[in-house]
Symmetry: C2
Subunit: 105 residues, 2 copies
């Protein structure tokens, strides 16, 4: 049991659920907010701003990269992370659509 049935849903719903999953930990929400507002993008700086170990932060960054919400570019010995505009705007649109209507019952 516990064989996943996620693949039996539509690609749109699978995609949106996957984006939601990548946002389902406060550390990852925080990382997105850091990248969108602060002048911070270096991996090490992000680690310093979170109450988590380097290994754990790296794992969270990997999850955000997996779904394409962020990209990482190597800059010498460091890595600079950026929000990926394309995925962000698609996510924005899809969430807007999800929350568009409220039912009439």
């Amino acid at each position: 049991m516990a064989v996943s049935k996620k693949e039996e849903f539509s690609v749109e719903n699978i995609w949106l659920a996957d984006i939601a999953k990548s946002l389902s930990h406060p550390a990852r929400v925080e990382i997105l907010k850091i990248l969108s507002s602060a002048n911070v993008c270096m991996c090490g700086d992000i680690v310093d701003l979170l109450p988590l170990s380097q290994a754990t932060v790296s794992q969270h960054l990997k999850e955000l990269k997996r779904v394409g919400l962020i990209r990482g570019e190597i800059e010498g010995p460091k890595v600079c992370y950026c929000l990926s505009e394309k995925t962000i705007s698609k996510a924005k649109k899809e969430f807007e659509n999800l929350f568009k209507n409220v039912c009439k019952c």
Copy 2:
């Protein structure tokens, strides 16, 4: 190990991550879409529309209720589920805010 550190983040980020978690399964995204678009709200009808057992659907409905995205009202022997306008609109606002800016690097 694996002691959760979620509580060390801000209440706003914890809240948004929790909403995202409740949307992190395609069945739950689908349930929201069913409730917002179709003339369907009875629990049994939702079960019929999903490729999951009654027990599993009930569990997914419980998760959506937990975060307040839906409410369930008993109607005789059945239960009618509705989107909860208040939570939906707060979620909408918070996601909009999260996706507002794209960084400048």
